[in-house]
């Protein structure tokens, strides 16, 4: 472990139990995305990482396959407590919310046929579609204003919505192409 600012928890104090508990709080607090809560818990509450280290871990987590927050859990768990730490962090992140989701799944099944609830569900389904579209718009605005980036976004959209090409092919085709373009036309 490298030298850290004095505010940081010494690595020995970071047990599997504290990893599981910390990531359980992150998992259970995230409505519409857990990353802001992750930063709060990991940097401010627990003092596991500095701001800079957090950004570093997050940037690696975003590049690797899989949910970003799960990747953060594995990277931190491994760093502080090896395999057991990774398992503890991942378990803490997913098991408590999964219990909530199981209850929700049962309730939905139970009440899906109630007529007025069906109408409510149609409304929230449309809203959810809108939320995801809105997120896409925000991300699109943040894209570099370069022709290749716009082209790849449009091709990915068309492949998924119009051509309905299975996603692995889309990723295998466009991810290397995107990285090549980003390298070729880097600012």
């Amino acid at each position: 472990m490298e030298n850290a600012a004095p505010a940081l928890r010494p690595p020995r104090a970071i047990t599997c139990r504290s990893l599981a508990w910390g990531f359980a709080r992150i998992g259970l607090s995230g409505i519409g995305g857990v990353l802001p809560y992750a930063h709060h818990t990991i940097v401010e509450d627990e003092g596991w990482l500095t701001d800079r280290e957090f950004t570093e871990v997050l940037s690696i987590a975003q590049i690797l396959p899989g949910p970003n927050i799960a990747n953060v859990a594995i990277l931190l768990g491994t760093r502080f407590r090896g395999t057991a730490g990774a398992a503890a962090a991942l378990g803490g992140l997913f098991v408590p919310p999964l219990l909530v989701f199981l209850v929700l799944a049962v309730l939905y099944r139970e009440f899906a046929e109630v007529a007025w609830l069906r109408r409510v569900f149609v409304g929230i389904a449309a809203a959810a579609a809108g939320l995801i579209l809105g997120m896409g718009l925000k991300l699109a605005v943040a894209l570099p204003r370069q022709a290749w980036a716009v082209a790849i976004a449009i091709v990915a959209l068309g492949a998924a919505v119009v051509a309905r090409i299975p996603l692995p092919w889309v990723v295998v085709g466009l991810a290397p192409l995107g990285i090549f373009c980003a390298w070729k036309w880097r600012a």
Binding site: I31, P65, G66, A125, G134, M135, L157, V161, C181
Partner: protein
């Protein structure tokens, strides 16, 4: 095709896990294609509703796979599906964690992120479009989805507030 839905769903998710970029929302169009179009285990409207519920519930977005799995495979699928979706990528990340790569300003990281960003954008927008189509509530459904999209992109309204507004609109229409 004759395989048990739980395990063929799990196998599909495991495959997606390895190629997943930019979180669960980029995978939704393909999960929709598999579950709704190819196998008909759920209607488009049910699928879109479950995505909405997953957004309103506390927990990582990938747990939407538990909600979806439960509807045709019960508790077994509700547990197997998220595990299948998380485990393969997690093993890859676990292997990577031992490499101890450092430096947030390493140029390869920046270029990789920039290169993947347009793909993520295209797939997230595709998610929204596919879900809006799945709602199959005709013009009012599209209008509601578009209004929420604009509100969430250009105002700072809380997502739960927008979902609540959608619920109210659905009840009244």
């Amino acid at each position: 095709m004759s395989a048990d839905p739980t395990w063929s769903f799990a196998a599909h998710l495991a495959l997606l896990s390895i190629v997943s970029v930019g979180g669960a929302h980029t995978m939704l169009p393909d999960i929709y294609r598999f579950v709704v179009i190819e196998h008909g285990w759920l209607s488009g409207q049910e699928f879109a509703t479950l995505v909405a519920l997953s957004q309103a519930a506390p927990g990582p977005n990938v747990l939407v796979t538990a909600l979806i799995g439960y509807q045709f495979g019960g508790f077994l699928a509700a547990v197997v599906a998220p595990v299948a979706f998380i485990l393969p990528s997690s093993l890859a990340v676990y292997g990577f964690a031992h490499l101890h790569l450092r430096g947030s300003d390493a140029p390869w990281k920046k270029i990789t992120m920039q290169g993947l960003a347009p793909l993520t954008v295209g797939l997230v927008i595709a998610s929204g479009v596919v879900l809006a189509q799945g709602v199959s509530a005709g013009v009012p459904g599209y209008v509601l989805a578009a209004a929420v999209a604009l509100a969430s992109a250009f105002t700072r309204l809380h997502p739960l507030l927008l979902i609540a507004a959608g619920a109210a609109a659905g009840f009244l229409i």
